[in-house]
Amino acid sequence: MQNRTLEVGVGLFLLAGLLAFLLLALRVSGLTVGADNTYKVYASFDNIAGLTVRSKVTMAGVTIGKVSAIDLDRDSYMGRVTMQLDEAVNNLPADSTASILTAGLLGEKYIGISVGGEEEVLGEGGTIHDTQSSLVLEDLIGKFLLNSVNKDQAN
């Protein structure tokens, strides 16, 4: 009957719409359904300039998590970054180093973690103490200029 084709068509259409939504959610925006398989790690930086929420956290170039929050520590006046790391990488030594890096010259900022040597590992809520702040281009140029001025004066 004609009604049947109609209903089948509409059914397929609704399914296609739903599938599109799921694809957008999971494949395109990388939404993970059960968010339980990550753990939280904190790190404080002198300057986080350019780092944003959802920036990646990498180790040896492999993405292992992302930044979930950035706020200012009232007492130390440092930027405190909260990271969600994959549960699969739960063997990070407690003295690992976190540095804010730039992809390319003008690319986005991300956090790179280099491994330390301690036996103790970072757990849920752990803090990385050894941090290296974002490289701020203006500071760099400023330093460079100052150096050359100093050199001139020394001469």
Binding site: V10, L12, A20, S29
Partner: protein, 265 residues
């Protein structure tokens, strides 16, 4: 020729303003009655399915084809610009964000206004001119519930789905061009995209946009048909009005919504 005095011009201007307000008022009453009035027929679901078919399924082809091409073009254009900065990997992110935030909802709404909106106006206008609407009313069936309401709901439901399908096939088209043709590394294409696209801010905001557009476009289309002059000339004028008004409304609303969603204030 008779001269129109200043007063007469002011009067005409006022008349136009009153007419505009009157039309707006009628369209609001029309909408409320169609959506919330008492239902006189039990088989509303059947009617909705029929309209979903003619409004949604029939628009699918144009949406998919345009989506693929727009995604491919975005990818090509984006690649050639991004390559100058050495960040070709970001092409996935660019295609996805452009489609999800802007082109998906907006182009879908424009195509929908042209394809389904004009058809709705013409169909209802034709029913009006052949007295089918009056004759429904005389049978004791409210045409607002029987004819208008299912079409409104079908439009509201279809367009967000179509917009999402548009974005998905667009991203697929973009990925084909970028990965298979331009040689962007597949892993970084998707990873870059996933890292920069936020579900809540980009995907959901896009869906919200297309829900708003669906509401406005369908409302305009159905109202223009219902309110048209019941002559063939009146119907063709109403059809044109539907496409023009709906397109302008979509583009204007898009600016407002974008400012609200992505502007920082």
């Amino acid at each position: 020729m008779r001269k129109t005095s200043v007063l007469e011009r002011v009067r005409l201007f006022g008349r136009a303003g009153i007419d505009l307000l009157g039309t707006l008022g009628r369209s609001v009453i029309f909408l409320l009655r169609a959506l919330f009035g008492r239902s006189s027929t039990g088989n509303g679901f059947q009617l909705l399915v029929k309209q979903l078919y003619s409004v949604g399924v029939m628009s699918l082809a144009i949406i998919v084809v345009s989506g693929v091409f727009i995604g491919m073009v975005l990818s090509l254009q984006g690649f050639s610009i991004l390559a100058q900065y050495g960040s070709e990997q970001a092409v996935g992110q660019m295609v996805a964000l452009t489609l999800l935030r802007e082109l998906g909802p907006v182009v879908t709404a424009l195509l929908f206004a042209g394809r389904a909106g004009s058809a709705l106006t013409a169909e209802i206008g034709n029913m009006k001119s052949t007295e089918q609407l009056s004759s429904l009313a005389m049978i004791g069936v409210d045409p607002l519930k029987y004819i208008v309401a299912p079409r409104l709901w079908a439009g509201f439901i279809s367009m967000p789905l179509l917009a999402m399908i548009f974005s998905v096939v667009g991203i697929w088209g973009g990925s084909m061009v970028a990965i298979d043709w331009l040689g962007v590394y597949e892993g970084s294409f998707w990873a870059n995209m996933q890292n920069s696209v936020s579900f809540r801010e980009d995907v959901l905001n896009g869906v919200i946009k297309s829900i708003v557009f669906a509401f406005v476009v369908t409302w305009i289309a159905v109202f223009q048909g219902y309110d048209c002059e019941p002559t063939s000339e009146g119907i063709s004028r109403a059809t044109t009005k539907t496409v023009v008004y709906a397109s302008l409304a979509v583009l204007g609303l898009d600016f407002i919504l974008t400012a609200l969603m992505f502007g920082d204030f």
